[in-house]
């Protein structure tokens, strides 16, 4: 196998002392970036990009540079889960779905288990994705070329449909919440005509509602308001804080192998397409809930509900580097910054990169294996530390969280307006919870609403308004068909149950 030989050479490059040091530095920086809401992986990589210029000038330096930057990326992927589980504040968009079961777990005093499950499944997802990249990159790169506007829309549709019906709230409340999300996503610039809409003449609304501001408010501030009402104390202070919890959780994880496999497949698919890590995590959560034996209990603190989104997010985040390397199309915002880096260092991503820059590519792939191992070691040893944060009295930690949230919201666009928006979203989040409206569909719609809209309208331009374009070939037809099937599945299963009962 030629791949294995190349990979071994890659390991030889990546395993130098300097590169290992860069790996751990990158991962630790990445975890910090992932923990702080607002300072996303893309920003973190962009800030450090100039540092790599002189690094890239030395022989073999481009490999070192990409190792540093991609390890920040892995670190951010790991780190996003921490605040989601402990405080219900997703540090990164792809960890929103992790809050659904991760936070209840923490409240039940099982923060250590939730964190261990999240980190371990992230690692598994990444590993599967790297193996795919190692052995299947030429095939997979060709597959990504099949995706035009109708295919992209059908993928987003599939994400929405896999998600609808998963919330325990009445379907109309879910729909109302999702529609509000679509409306918020529509504010700003119209992707097809380029004109401004729903801004009411305000220059602040020009940029639309950033997903992060909404999430920090809805989840973070909303949660603190609820806790205030319920007696100023964190639940889950009884979390075990020793390393035994890691081993105990590991013993339990193999039970969920099916969920892991499904989530890895969903994640790799979404990363390559490239749909990105965020839809991957949502879709995977929805799918896991459908197929799980105790799907009904999702949302109350099931380990599976943490494993599914984390595996998929990391698999997607990792495999998103493949279209970037082979096609020059970034699968995520962070990959977009890395792509800019490659160009500045004088490398040309594209079909020839694997031939012309063999050393660089295989060094990078080898560093994906090693970087994720480094990441896992770093975050797992810190599990007790993270879990111990919950023992700090609420009166001390709540103001700290508020300040971090405010800084996070401010960082998104360097604007005070966003901080006020965060407060408004916080109050809205509190009211939503009180009235029993689910927040997740709202968030999903804000994240994917504009992308789904752009793909749909591009497809309509291509077909000149003919809807049959969504069934025009086997690929798009089966995606749309699957979406429709998932949408009516609750009705179908009800019907089947009725017939059996009769």
């Amino acid at each position: 196998m030629e791949e294995i030989q190349s990979l071994m050479q890659g390991f030889a490059i990546a395993l130098s002392f300097k590169n290992l040091l860069l790996m751990f530095t990158g991962v630790i920086l990445g975890v910090i970036i992932g923990v702080l809401p607002g300072l996303g992986g893309a920003n973190g990589v962009a800030i450090l990009l100039p540092l790599t210029f002189s690094m890239a000038q030395t022989p073999g330096g481009t490999t070192s540079a990409i190792i540093l930057l991609s390890c920040i990326y892995w670190g951010a992927l790991f780190g996003g889960a921490i605040t989601s589980i402990l405080f219900n504040i997703p540090g990164e968009p792809w960890s929103v779905a992790t809050t659904f079961d991760g936070y209840p777990l923490a409240q039940n005093g099982r923060a250590g288990e939730a964190l261990t499950a999240a980190f371990t499944s992230s690692f598994v997802g990444a590993l599967v994705a790297v193996v795919v990249i190692t052995f299947l990159s030429p095939v997979v790169a060709k597959f990504a070329l099949e995706f035009g506007p109708p295919e992209f829309f059908s993928v987003y549709l599939l994400t929405f449909c896999a998600f609808v019906g998963m919330s325990k709230e009445p379907p109309f409340k879910t729909l109302a919440s999702m529609m509000l999300g679509f409306a918020l996503a529509a504010v700003g610039t119209d992707p097809v005509t380029g004109t401004l809409r729903l801004t009411f003449g305000s220059t602040h609304l020009l940029v639309g509602f950033d997903f992060l501001v909404a999430v920090i408010g809805l989840f973070g501030i909303g949660e603190i308001l609820l806790t205030l009402e319920e007696g100023l104390a964190f639940k889950g202070t009884s979390a075990r804080i020793n390393l035994r919890v890691v081993l105990d959780t590991w013993r339990e994880l193999p039970k969920y192998w099916a969920t892991s496999i499904r989530s890895s497949v969903v994640g790799c698919f979404m990363g390559i397409v490239p749909g990105g890590a965020t839809p991957a995590s949502f879709m995977s959560y929805g799918v896991a809930r459908r197929f799980s034996k105790d799907g009904e209990q999702f949302g109350t603190g099931k380990l599976e509900g943490v494993i599914a989104p984390e595996t998929a997010a990391h698999a997607a985040g990792t495999s998103a580097l493949l279209p970037m390397l082979t096609l020059g199309v970034p699968g995520s915002p962070t990959a977009a910054v890395l792509l800019g880096g490659l160009l500045i260092w004088g490398l040309q991503p594209g079909p020839l990169l694997f031939i012309e820059q063999k050393e660089f590519v295989w060094g990078l792939i080898a560093s994906m294996y090693l970087g994720n191992i480094a990441g896992l070691i770093v975050v797992l040893t810190c599990v007790p530390l993270f879990a111990a944060i919950l023992r700090i009295p609420f009166a001390v930690i709540a103001p700290v969280i508020m300040v971090i949230c405010a800084i996070g919201a401010y960082t998104v666009h360097n604007s005070m307006f966003d901080v006020w928006m965060m407060v408004v979203f916080g109050i809205a989040g509190y009211v939503f919870k009180k009235l029993g409206y689910p927040l997740a569909p709202l968030v999903l719609a804000i994240v994917l609403g504009d992308r789904a809209e752009a793909s749909f309208r591009q497809a309509m331009l291509v077909s000149q308004g003919d809807m049959t374009i969504f069934f025009s070939n086997a690929l798009v037809g089966s995606l749309t068909g699957l979406a429709m099937f998932l949408l009516v599945w609750p009705l179908l299963s009800l019907l089947i149950a009725r017939m059996r009962g009769d």
Binding site: F53, S54, G148, P149, T193, G194, A336
Partner: protein, 332 residues
């Protein structure tokens, strides 16, 4: 140890450079300079800004540090309004693309380039007409003739809406009578892949956005929208260099369009402050790294300063108003 010594030497060299630099200037930045990019990360403007930032940092051209900030919301209006409201602030510069003209015209956002102070044109970015290499078209004429035969069937993918790619498309339509369906995408990379995947018939990608696919034999350049050929003669593919691509005018398609990659400051700054950045950017342009970057991206390396630059921008604004009026893109 070795690294440490090297670092010390570099710091010392930097200090010397700075000492000489500071003597030469009547004004210099007192704190971190913010370099605003009115577009998202990873695009052409962003890349150029980060190259400039990298060259400045690597060669110690400035005592203070420089940070690149992306403010791409509202087709760049976010970044331009930020500079407009920073009147008199010498610690902010902005790199522009054609949205300097197109965004206020298409959206009605209250902003004009005269709210800013022109510093220096760094280069002009080229546009090339690309088709999938599997298609039989060898020249712009063949392609346009075929497009004319089935009006409203040929799809042109481009970056953004009512911006440079769509303006060129409309200009081709009005010159030739062909009719395209213009489909806007988010970034140049997406556009190139849509063409490789045969989802559209053609694009007007910048060279840097499509060069990798060209070298891999997936795309074919038909003509460049510059009145003169690109000067770079080094082979890019096995058989062709950038200068082998005919101009569109040679190919019978009389359309030309170049995009400004220029630097501006906020309004109300002093001539000394402007001169500082002009000198700084001249030093950037003198580095081999910059020359390398120009060739890799097949840029038109025209560079203007002072009144010449301001006059050029004014002419270009008038041209854009004409083009956008003809295309009916102006906000009411």
């Amino acid at each position: 140890m070795k690294i440490k010594i090297a670092k010390c030497v570099r710091v010392a060299a930097g200090a010397v450079a700075l000492a000489t630099a500071s003597m030469a200037h009547a004004w210099e930045p007192a704190r971190t300079v913010e370099f605003v990019v009115p577009a998202g990360t990873g695009g052409g403007a962003d890349q150029m800004a980060r190259v400039i930032q990298g060259i400045i940092a690597k060669n110690n051209l400035m005592k203070q540090s420089m940070v690149v900030v992306n403010k791409g919301g509202g087709a760049g209006a976010e970044g331009f309004l930020d500079l407009k409201s920073a009147k008199g602030d010498p610690h902010k510069i902005i790199i522009t693309l054609s949205n300097l003209f197109t965004t206020p015209l298409a959206t009605g956002v209250p902003f004009n380039w005269r709210d800013l102070t022109p510093v220096k044109m760094m280069a002009l970015d080229q546009f090339i007409l690309w088709v999938n290499a599997a298609k039989p078209y060898k020249s712009a004429k063949e392609y346009i003739d075929d497009a004319k035969k089935s009006p409203g069937k040929f799809k042109m993918a481009g970056t953004g809406s009512k911006q440079e790619d769509q303006i060129i498309t409309v200009a081709i339509e009005s010159k030739t009578g062909a009719k395209f369906i213009y489909i806007p995408f988010k970034g140049g990379g997406d556009v190139a892949v849509q063409l490789v995947g045969n989802h559209v018939e053609s694009t007007v990608n910048n060279p840097i956005e499509a060069v990798a696919q060209w070298r891999a034999g997936k795309l074919r350049p038909l003509c460049v929208f510059d009145p003169k050929r690109i000067p770079y003669k080094n082979k890019v593919t096995d058989t062709m260099s950038w200068s082998d691509i005919p101009t569109c005018k040679e190919g019978g398609l009389d359309v030309d369009y170049l995009m400004l990659r220029g630097i501006f400051m906020a309004g109300g700054v002093t001539p000394d402050q402007v001169q500082y950045y002009v000198d700084l950017l001249r030093k950037v342009q003198a580095t081999p790294d910059w020359k390398d970057f120009m060739e890799k991206g097949a840029f038109n390396a025209t560079s203007l300063e002072g009144k010449e630059y301001a006059d050029w921008v004014a002419r270009e604004e008038a041209r854009h108003i004409g083009l956008m009026k003809a295309a009916n893109f102006i906000a009411k």
